[in-house]
Symmetry: C2
Subunit: 176 residues, 2 copies
Protein backbone atom coordinates (compact mmCIF):
# COMPACT_ATOMS: atom_id res chain seq x y z
CA UNK A 1 0.00 0.00 0.00
CA UNK A 2 1.39 3.39 -1.08
CA UNK A 3 0.40 6.86 0.00
CA UNK A 4 -2.64 8.31 -1.81
CA UNK A 5 -2.90 12.11 -1.72
CA UNK A 6 -5.92 13.16 0.34
CA UNK A 7 -7.13 15.36 -2.52
CA UNK A 8 -7.74 12.17 -4.55
CA UNK A 9 -9.97 10.47 -1.99
CA UNK A 10 -13.19 11.78 -3.57
CA UNK A 11 -12.37 9.86 -6.74
CA UNK A 12 -12.78 6.62 -4.81
CA UNK A 13 -15.94 7.53 -2.92
CA UNK A 14 -17.92 9.66 -5.37
CA UNK A 15 -18.77 6.75 -7.74
CA UNK A 16 -20.73 5.12 -4.89
CA UNK A 17 -19.01 1.73 -4.43
CA UNK A 18 -19.89 -0.67 -1.65
CA UNK A 19 -17.14 -0.23 0.95
CA UNK A 20 -15.93 -1.86 4.13
CA UNK A 21 -15.64 0.04 7.41
CA UNK A 22 -13.32 -1.13 10.15
CA UNK A 23 -13.30 -0.15 13.81
CA UNK A 24 -11.30 -1.18 16.83
CA UNK A 25 -12.84 -1.03 20.30
CA UNK A 26 -12.90 -3.53 23.18
CA UNK A 27 -12.07 -6.90 21.67
CA UNK A 28 -11.00 -7.83 18.15
CA UNK A 29 -11.21 -5.23 15.41
CA UNK A 30 -14.47 -5.36 13.49
CA UNK A 31 -15.44 -4.82 9.87
CA UNK A 32 -18.82 -4.09 8.30
CA UNK A 33 -20.17 -3.61 4.80
CA UNK A 34 -21.47 -0.12 4.03
CA UNK A 35 -23.26 1.41 1.09
CA UNK A 36 -24.74 4.64 2.47
CA UNK A 37 -21.95 7.18 2.17
CA UNK A 38 -21.10 10.28 0.12
CA UNK A 39 -18.46 12.94 -0.27
CA UNK A 40 -19.04 16.21 1.59
CA UNK A 41 -15.86 18.13 0.74
CA UNK A 42 -12.74 17.64 -1.37
CA UNK A 43 -9.80 18.63 0.81
CA UNK A 44 -9.51 17.81 3.54
CA UNK A 45 -11.75 15.00 2.34
CA UNK A 46 -15.01 14.84 4.29
CA UNK A 47 -17.22 11.77 3.96
CA UNK A 48 -20.71 11.40 5.40
CA UNK A 49 -21.95 7.91 6.17
CA UNK A 50 -24.84 6.16 7.89
CA UNK A 51 -23.97 3.37 10.32
CA UNK A 52 -27.13 1.94 11.82
CA UNK A 53 -27.34 1.81 15.60
CA UNK A 54 -28.28 -1.85 15.12
CA UNK A 55 -24.79 -2.45 13.74
CA UNK A 56 -22.10 -3.60 16.18
CA UNK A 57 -19.76 -1.01 14.58
CA UNK A 58 -22.00 1.88 15.69
CA UNK A 59 -20.87 1.73 19.31
CA UNK A 60 -17.20 1.49 18.35
CA UNK A 61 -17.43 4.35 15.87
CA UNK A 62 -19.21 6.61 18.32
CA UNK A 63 -16.87 5.76 21.18
CA UNK A 64 -13.50 5.84 19.38
CA UNK A 65 -14.39 8.38 16.67
CA UNK A 66 -12.04 6.50 14.36
CA UNK A 67 -12.46 4.08 11.47
CA UNK A 68 -10.99 2.98 8.17
CA UNK A 69 -13.02 3.03 4.96
CA UNK A 70 -11.66 0.35 2.64
CA UNK A 71 -12.61 -0.09 -1.03
CA UNK A 72 -12.96 -3.74 -2.07
CA UNK A 73 -12.42 -4.75 -5.69
CA UNK A 74 -15.29 -6.51 -7.47
CA UNK A 75 -13.43 -9.82 -7.07
CA UNK A 76 -14.19 -9.60 -3.32
CA UNK A 77 -17.97 -9.34 -3.87
CA UNK A 78 -18.88 -12.64 -2.21
CA UNK A 79 -16.74 -11.87 0.83
CA UNK A 80 -18.18 -8.36 1.04
CA UNK A 81 -21.70 -9.78 1.16
CA UNK A 82 -20.71 -12.43 3.71
CA UNK A 83 -19.23 -9.69 5.92
CA UNK A 84 -22.57 -7.86 5.69
CA UNK A 85 -24.53 -11.00 6.55
CA UNK A 86 -23.11 -11.45 10.05
CA UNK A 87 -22.34 -9.34 13.11
CA UNK A 88 -19.11 -8.62 14.94
CA UNK A 89 -21.11 -9.40 18.08
CA UNK A 90 -20.93 -13.08 17.16
CA UNK A 91 -17.93 -13.44 14.85
CA UNK A 92 -14.35 -12.22 14.55
CA UNK A 93 -14.86 -11.33 10.92
CA UNK A 94 -11.21 -10.69 10.08
CA UNK A 95 -10.51 -14.24 11.17
CA UNK A 96 -13.65 -15.84 9.72
CA UNK A 97 -13.10 -14.32 6.28
CA UNK A 98 -9.29 -14.61 6.27
CA UNK A 99 -8.85 -10.87 5.86
CA UNK A 100 -5.39 -9.37 6.28
CA UNK A 101 -5.14 -6.47 8.72
CA UNK A 102 -2.71 -3.65 8.08
CA UNK A 103 -1.54 -1.14 10.61
CA UNK A 104 -2.97 2.32 10.08
CA UNK A 105 -0.83 5.37 10.67
CA UNK A 106 -3.25 7.80 12.30
CA UNK A 107 -6.11 5.69 13.70
CA UNK A 108 -6.37 2.54 15.77
CA UNK A 109 -8.76 0.77 13.37
CA UNK A 110 -6.97 -1.57 10.93
CA UNK A 111 -6.51 -1.30 7.19
CA UNK A 112 -7.91 -4.13 5.07
CA UNK A 113 -4.95 -5.15 2.95
CA UNK A 114 -7.22 -7.24 0.69
CA UNK A 115 -8.87 -4.01 -0.46
CA UNK A 116 -7.15 -1.89 -3.15
CA UNK A 117 -7.56 1.39 -1.24
CA UNK A 118 -7.94 2.39 2.41
CA UNK A 119 -8.88 5.73 3.96
CA UNK A 120 -8.07 6.36 7.62
CA UNK A 121 -10.84 8.54 9.06
CA UNK A 122 -11.75 10.47 12.19
CA UNK A 123 -15.31 11.43 13.12
CA UNK A 124 -15.57 15.23 12.96
CA UNK A 125 -19.31 15.84 13.31
CA UNK A 126 -21.90 13.92 15.30
CA UNK A 127 -24.82 16.37 15.22
CA UNK A 128 -26.91 14.05 13.07
CA UNK A 129 -25.94 10.81 14.80
CA UNK A 130 -28.77 10.64 17.31
CA UNK A 131 -31.49 11.24 14.75
CA UNK A 132 -30.13 9.55 11.62
CA UNK A 133 -26.99 7.62 12.64
CA UNK A 134 -25.22 9.96 10.20
CA UNK A 135 -21.53 10.56 10.90
CA UNK A 136 -19.26 13.07 9.16
CA UNK A 137 -15.75 11.64 8.77
CA UNK A 138 -12.55 13.37 7.79
CA UNK A 139 -10.01 11.36 5.82
CA UNK A 140 -6.65 11.87 7.54
CA UNK A 141 -4.48 9.42 5.60
CA UNK A 142 -5.13 7.37 2.47
CA UNK A 143 -3.48 4.36 0.87
CA UNK A 144 -3.65 2.69 -2.50
CA UNK A 145 -2.21 -0.51 -3.94
CA UNK A 146 -0.65 0.83 -7.16
CA UNK A 147 -0.91 -2.57 -8.85
CA UNK A 148 -4.68 -2.58 -8.34
CA UNK A 149 -5.45 1.15 -8.84
CA UNK A 150 -8.57 1.48 -10.98
CA UNK A 151 -9.98 -1.87 -9.86
CA UNK A 152 -13.63 -2.40 -10.73
CA UNK A 153 -15.99 -2.03 -7.77
CA UNK A 154 -19.55 -3.07 -6.96
CA UNK A 155 -22.65 -0.96 -6.28
CA UNK A 156 -25.65 -2.22 -4.30
CA UNK A 157 -29.08 -1.99 -5.92
CA UNK A 158 -30.78 -3.67 -2.97
CA UNK A 159 -31.96 -7.22 -2.29
CA UNK A 160 -28.65 -8.82 -3.14
CA UNK A 161 -28.44 -7.26 -6.57
CA UNK A 162 -25.08 -5.63 -7.32
CA UNK A 163 -23.85 -3.73 -10.36
CA UNK A 164 -20.24 -4.28 -11.37
CA UNK A 165 -18.39 -1.34 -12.94
CA UNK A 166 -18.57 -1.46 -16.73
CA UNK A 167 -16.74 0.69 -19.25
CA UNK A 168 -15.24 4.06 -18.39
CA UNK A 169 -16.09 7.03 -20.60
CA UNK A 170 -14.30 10.38 -20.68
CA UNK A 171 -16.39 13.51 -21.13
CA UNK A 172 -15.41 17.16 -21.16
CA UNK A 173 -16.51 18.05 -17.63
CA UNK A 174 -15.56 21.29 -15.91
CA UNK A 175 -16.17 19.68 -12.53
CA UNK A 176 -13.30 18.22 -10.49
Amino acid sequence: MKDLPLRDVYRLIEPGPVVLLTTSHKGPANVMTMSWHMMVDFEPPLIACVVSDRDHSFTALRATKECVVAIPPAEMAETVVAIGNCSGRDVDKFEAFHLTKGEAEKVSAPLVVDCFANIECKVVDTRLVNQYCLFVLQGVKAWIDPARRGSKTIHHKGMGSFIVDGETIELDSKMP
Copy 2:
Protein backbone atom coordinates in the same frame (compact mmCIF):
# COMPACT_ATOMS: atom_id res chain seq x y z
CA MET B 1 -44.21 7.98 -15.69
CA LYS B 2 -45.89 5.56 -13.30
CA ASP B 3 -45.97 5.60 -9.52
CA LEU B 4 -42.92 4.08 -7.81
CA PRO B 5 -43.48 2.96 -4.19
CA LEU B 6 -41.47 5.14 -1.82
CA ARG B 7 -39.98 2.02 -0.21
CA ASP B 8 -38.17 1.34 -3.53
CA VAL B 9 -36.46 4.73 -3.77
CA TYR B 10 -33.28 3.49 -2.09
CA ARG B 11 -32.74 1.02 -4.92
CA LEU B 12 -32.23 3.97 -7.28
CA ILE B 13 -30.00 6.08 -5.02
CA GLU B 14 -27.88 3.52 -3.15
CA PRO B 15 -25.82 2.47 -6.22
CA GLY B 16 -24.47 6.05 -6.40
CA PRO B 17 -25.51 7.25 -9.88
CA VAL B 18 -24.97 10.78 -11.11
CA VAL B 19 -28.37 12.46 -10.78
CA LEU B 20 -30.08 15.68 -11.79
CA LEU B 21 -31.66 18.00 -9.24
CA THR B 22 -34.39 20.44 -10.25
CA THR B 23 -35.64 23.48 -8.37
CA SER B 24 -38.19 26.19 -9.08
CA HIS B 25 -37.75 29.65 -7.58
CA LYS B 26 -38.00 33.14 -9.10
CA GLY B 27 -37.65 32.68 -12.83
CA PRO B 28 -37.44 29.54 -14.93
CA ALA B 29 -37.00 26.21 -13.22
CA ASN B 30 -33.38 25.16 -12.93
CA VAL B 31 -31.55 21.84 -13.11
CA MET B 32 -28.09 20.87 -11.89
CA THR B 33 -25.92 17.75 -12.01
CA MET B 34 -25.21 16.15 -8.63
CA SER B 35 -23.03 13.31 -7.49
CA TRP B 36 -22.70 13.82 -3.73
CA HIS B 37 -25.74 12.11 -2.28
CA MET B 38 -26.59 9.03 -0.20
CA MET B 39 -29.52 7.23 1.38
CA VAL B 40 -30.19 7.98 5.07
CA ASP B 41 -33.32 5.92 5.67
CA PHE B 42 -35.52 3.49 3.77
CA GLU B 43 -39.12 4.55 4.44
CA PRO B 44 -39.97 7.28 4.32
CA PRO B 45 -36.95 7.58 2.07
CA LEU B 46 -34.44 10.10 3.36
CA ILE B 47 -31.64 11.26 1.09
CA ALA B 48 -28.70 13.44 2.12
CA CYS B 49 -27.03 15.57 -0.53
CA VAL B 50 -24.45 18.32 -0.85
CA VAL B 51 -25.39 21.29 -3.02
CA SER B 52 -22.56 23.81 -3.03
CA ASP B 53 -23.42 27.38 -2.10
CA ARG B 54 -21.63 28.36 -5.31
CA ASP B 55 -24.39 26.55 -7.24
CA HIS B 56 -27.36 28.62 -8.40
CA SER B 57 -29.63 25.83 -7.11
CA PHE B 58 -28.46 26.34 -3.53
CA THR B 59 -30.51 29.49 -3.01
CA ALA B 60 -33.62 27.91 -4.53
CA LEU B 61 -33.29 24.73 -2.50
CA ARG B 62 -32.79 26.61 0.74
CA ALA B 63 -35.63 29.04 0.06
CA THR B 64 -38.29 26.67 -1.31
CA LYS B 65 -37.21 23.52 0.55
CA GLU B 66 -38.36 21.52 -2.46
CA CYS B 67 -36.64 19.75 -5.34
CA VAL B 68 -36.84 16.78 -7.66
CA VAL B 69 -34.04 14.21 -7.89
CA ALA B 70 -34.11 12.69 -11.38
CA ILE B 71 -32.09 9.66 -12.49
CA PRO B 72 -30.69 9.97 -16.01
CA PRO B 73 -29.96 6.87 -18.08
CA ALA B 74 -26.40 6.42 -19.35
CA GLU B 75 -27.56 7.49 -22.81
CA MET B 76 -27.97 11.03 -21.39
CA ALA B 77 -24.34 11.22 -20.22
CA GLU B 78 -23.26 14.02 -22.56
CA THR B 79 -26.29 16.13 -21.65
CA VAL B 80 -25.73 15.46 -17.95
CA VAL B 81 -22.17 16.76 -18.22
CA ALA B 82 -23.28 19.78 -20.27
CA ILE B 83 -25.87 20.60 -17.56
CA GLY B 84 -23.06 20.46 -15.01
CA ASN B 85 -20.80 22.71 -17.08
CA CYS B 86 -23.05 25.80 -16.98
CA SER B 87 -25.08 27.74 -14.44
CA GLY B 88 -28.77 28.54 -14.20
CA ARG B 89 -27.63 32.09 -13.51
CA ASP B 90 -26.78 32.41 -17.19
CA VAL B 91 -28.84 29.80 -19.00
CA ASP B 92 -32.37 28.38 -18.98
CA LYS B 93 -31.02 24.83 -18.99
CA PHE B 94 -34.35 23.10 -19.65
CA GLU B 95 -34.58 25.14 -22.85
CA ALA B 96 -30.89 24.98 -23.80
CA PHE B 97 -30.75 21.20 -23.48
CA HIS B 98 -34.25 20.49 -24.84
CA LEU B 99 -35.32 18.79 -21.63
CA THR B 100 -38.98 17.97 -21.12
CA LYS B 101 -40.51 19.20 -17.88
CA GLY B 102 -43.19 17.17 -16.15
CA GLU B 103 -45.53 18.43 -13.49
CA ALA B 104 -44.74 17.08 -10.03
CA GLU B 105 -47.56 16.18 -7.68
CA LYS B 106 -46.25 17.37 -4.32
CA VAL B 107 -43.55 19.95 -5.07
CA SER B 108 -43.25 22.96 -7.35
CA ALA B 109 -39.96 21.82 -8.94
CA PRO B 110 -40.45 19.99 -12.25
CA LEU B 111 -39.88 16.36 -13.14
CA VAL B 112 -37.37 15.64 -15.90
CA VAL B 113 -39.32 13.41 -18.26
CA ASP B 114 -36.13 12.49 -20.15
CA CYS B 115 -34.93 10.70 -17.01
CA PHE B 116 -36.19 7.19 -16.26
CA ALA B 117 -37.05 7.94 -12.62
CA ASN B 118 -37.94 11.04 -10.61
CA ILE B 119 -38.20 11.54 -6.85
CA GLU B 120 -40.11 14.55 -5.52
CA CYS B 121 -38.38 15.72 -2.34
CA LYS B 122 -38.83 18.14 0.53
CA VAL B 123 -35.97 19.41 2.68
CA VAL B 124 -36.47 18.08 6.20
CA ASP B 125 -33.19 18.97 7.93
CA THR B 126 -30.93 21.97 7.43
CA ARG B 127 -28.70 21.67 10.50
CA LEU B 128 -25.63 20.90 8.38
CA VAL B 129 -26.37 23.38 5.59
CA ASN B 130 -24.39 26.32 6.91
CA GLN B 131 -21.25 24.33 7.55
CA TYR B 132 -21.27 21.72 4.77
CA CYS B 133 -24.12 22.66 2.36
CA LEU B 134 -25.55 19.27 3.36
CA PHE B 135 -29.33 18.94 3.05
CA VAL B 136 -31.47 16.05 4.25
CA LEU B 137 -34.36 15.44 1.83
CA GLN B 138 -37.44 13.29 2.25
CA GLY B 139 -38.82 11.64 -0.86
CA VAL B 140 -42.57 12.34 -0.87
CA LYS B 141 -43.55 10.93 -4.27
CA ALA B 142 -41.63 8.86 -6.81
CA TRP B 143 -42.09 8.04 -10.47
CA ILE B 144 -40.61 5.53 -12.88
CA ASP B 145 -40.89 4.96 -16.61
CA PRO B 146 -41.71 1.22 -16.68
CA ALA B 147 -40.28 0.85 -20.18
CA ARG B 148 -36.89 2.11 -18.98
CA ARG B 149 -36.81 0.57 -15.49
CA GLY B 150 -33.35 -0.86 -14.84
CA SER B 151 -31.65 1.57 -17.23
CA LYS B 152 -27.88 1.69 -16.90
CA THR B 153 -26.60 4.79 -15.10
CA ILE B 154 -23.28 6.62 -14.83
CA HIS B 155 -21.01 7.19 -11.82
CA HIS B 156 -18.50 10.03 -11.59
CA LYS B 157 -14.87 9.17 -10.85
CA GLY B 158 -13.80 12.81 -11.11
CA MET B 159 -12.12 14.86 -13.85
CA GLY B 160 -14.65 13.92 -16.52
CA SER B 161 -14.20 10.20 -16.04
CA PHE B 162 -17.46 8.27 -15.72
CA ILE B 163 -18.14 4.59 -15.11
CA VAL B 164 -21.12 3.10 -16.92
CA ASP B 165 -23.02 0.29 -15.16
CA GLY B 166 -21.76 -3.12 -16.22
CA GLU B 167 -23.18 -6.54 -15.46
CA THR B 168 -25.53 -7.18 -12.54
CA ILE B 169 -24.71 -10.02 -10.17
CA GLU B 170 -27.04 -11.57 -7.62
CA LEU B 171 -25.62 -12.60 -4.24
CA ASP B 172 -27.26 -14.02 -1.17
CA SER B 173 -27.45 -10.84 0.90
CA LYS B 174 -29.51 -10.53 4.06
CA MET B 175 -29.57 -6.76 3.66
CA PRO B 176 -32.54 -4.99 2.03
